[in-house]
Amino acid sequence: MSVILQLAFDGLTIGLIYVILAAGLVLILSVTEIFFVAYGMFFMWGAYAAWYCESGLGLSYPVAVLVAVAVTGVFGLLSYMLIFKRLQHMEGRFLVTVTGALGLSLILEKAVLPIFGTQPKSIPGIFTQAWRLGGVHIELKKLVLIGVGLLVTLVLFWIYEKTRVGRAMRAVSSNAEVAALHGIRPMWVYLLVMGLGCALAGLAGGLFAPAYNVHSGMGANVIANVLLMTMLGGMDSLLGAVVGGLVVGQVLSFGQYYFGQMSIVYLFLVIGVIIYFRPNGLLGHRTDLGV
């Protein structure tokens, strides 16, 4: 019993990281319609930035996370302004944006090695308190992670559903030209979404760093999971991202324990069946998000 509770707790922790990641990716995919493969690399850069600020510069951990968020957000804005703004309206835009994103992820993935070295990093000594509660090992850093994750998700929902900015995002997501007719500049919304999405990836990376290890393969590892979540929940639904993140977190936590590394493959097969019957995922709406 305690094993199951422990696995559920760990699944919730990693699931909230996935929720933040999937929410950012869903925003980028549905609003800008760019297949942003480099997203996982932004997650990795967030984790490395938090590690560097904490261990290298000696900042306190919350400040380090904020710096990581700022760094990845600015990276996202720059990548949109320098690369994707030009590619977005080209002939055959799906091919050129995918290619551009792949090139960017190649640069970002490999740039980590000469800058930070090949050794895995960790941030020790942050929120080290831990308790045993009914056989479950509860660490404070994981509790902090859960709290911040829930808070960020709620704020994101509030922005997306209740504010003018969120309404602009939804309008551009459903039809950019009609939104432009109503006085919304799609370019600013794209810019905002790219910045916000990449900042969310950086936040997830910063929160991930103390609880787990930071290494140069984590970006490529996480992108498969995040893409599976967006497929499960639907590519244009923020709620779908939350559901997908929590479900995949639990499934992977239990799957790793009972089936080992192959659990993600079984998950892929199950999601393949779901996609076959519900092509837009569980909570998605759009059918025309295509080439």
């Binding site: 050129v96 190649l106 993935e109 493959v265």
Partner: protein, 352 residues
């Protein structure tokens, strides 16, 4: 003769290129460069399958995974079952096609983002799956894959022999692909790539034709994988990973020009394979710098030359025509007149 050439300009151009390419090992003796040429041919074939899927509006990021399925099928059949390369080659092609049929049947339903995402995940999971299967050697891969059996007096023991074998395979692949393009299937693919809904409205079964292109493309990738496995004699799952192999395959196609189905991948693969090696020499074998340079190059190409290097040719042809017309003023003959007086007339005369 001139009439024949102007009618069959493209095939005769390819024939000249082919003969010139086949003569290369006569004066390039270094095994290093022969190896690069063999890899160029494999890469060009893979990029052609990518372009083939692109024609029908599918952006597939799992070309390398199917290449890997072909390579692993062939390796297992020859190492464990002891079959000859000449049986493994068609068998692994069929196995890859069967995989493609099953996978494609599920993921092609909803083309567009779903397809791109599912192929990406597939490419990333290929490494995990193969790495966790003990029978396939796990992450260590399979080594000691035997070379092809000799046919008559031809023994495959040097890189030059593999060069000619690869050349034959590449020519077969090009012939298959161009046969498809010029048949009913190719016309349907073109219609789907132009506008899927329009194609559907005039009676083209979009799903079935997309599935056909997926299966054919993946089968060709499997064929090349079988050749690659027997050429390298050693394979491991990371060779077939999304980062960076599929990225490179896509870049070969885009760099050469995705609008050019055969010539684009050839030019792109040739340029990038040799460029990568040059960069590796310049940065003194630090692989991460090579990948970063290639990534930067990719971004530069898609931003400034999105239709590929070969589109420069069209641009210069236009420039040349413009210059011949006398720089935009009504100087020389118009293009239509030039064509009529220089190209078409002699042909008619010869016919008469």
């Amino acid at each position: 003769m001139r009439g024949f050439l102007s009618k069959h300009r493209r095939p005769s151009g390819f024939l000249v290129l082919l003969v010139a390419f086949a003569l290369v090992p006569l004066w390039v003796k270094s095994p290093y460069y022969i190896d690069l040429l063999v890899m160029t041919m494999v890469n060009a074939g893979l990029a052609m399958t990518f372009v083939m899927l692109l024609r029908t509006g599918l952006i597939s990021l799992c070309v390398a995974a199917f290449w890997g399925i072909g390579a692993y099928a062939s390796a297992v059949l020859s190492v464990n079952a002891g079959l000859s390369f000449w049986i493994c080659l068609p068998l692994s092609t069929l196995i890859t096609a069967a995989f493609a049929l099953v996978i494609g049947y599920v993921i092609i339903r909803n083309a567009g983002f779903t397809f791109i995402i599912m192929t990406t995940v597939l490419a990333l999971l290929f490494v995990t799956v193969v790495g966790n299967i003990k029978a396939l050697g796990g992450y260590n891969g399979i080594s000691n894959i035997p070379a092809p059996d000799s046919i008559g007096s031809i023994v495959f023991d040097t890189k030059v022999d593999f060069f000619y074998l690869g050349l034959v395979i590449l020519v077969v692949v090009v012939l298959i692909i161009s046969a498809f393009y010029s048949s009913w299937a190719g016309r349907a693919w073109k219609a789907i790539g132009f506008n899927p809904r329009l194609a559907q409205s005039i009676g083209v079964n979009v799903f079935r034709y997309r599935l056909l292109s997926f299966v054919v493309g993946c089968a060709i990738a499997g064929l090349l994988g079988s050749f690659y496995a027997h050429y390298q004699t050693y394979i491991n799952p990371n060779v077939f990973n999304l980062f960076p192999k599929t990225i490179f395959i896509q870049v070969y196609a885009v760099l050469g020009g995705a609008g050019f189905a055969i010539l684009g991948p050839l030019v792109g693969a040739g340029l990038l394979t040799f460029l990568t090696e040059t960069v590796t020499v310049v940065v003194q074998d630090k692989a991460e710098y090579t990948f970063m340079v290639v990534g930067a190059l990719v971004i530069l190409v898609v931003v400034f030359l999105p239709r590929g290097v070969l589109s420069l040719g069209e641009y210069f042809a236009k420039l040349w025509a413009w210059a011949r017309r006398g720089g935009g003023r009504d100087g020389g003959p118009q293009p239509e007149q030039t064509l009529k007086s220089a190209g078409a007339a002699p042909e008619e005369a010869e016919g008469a």
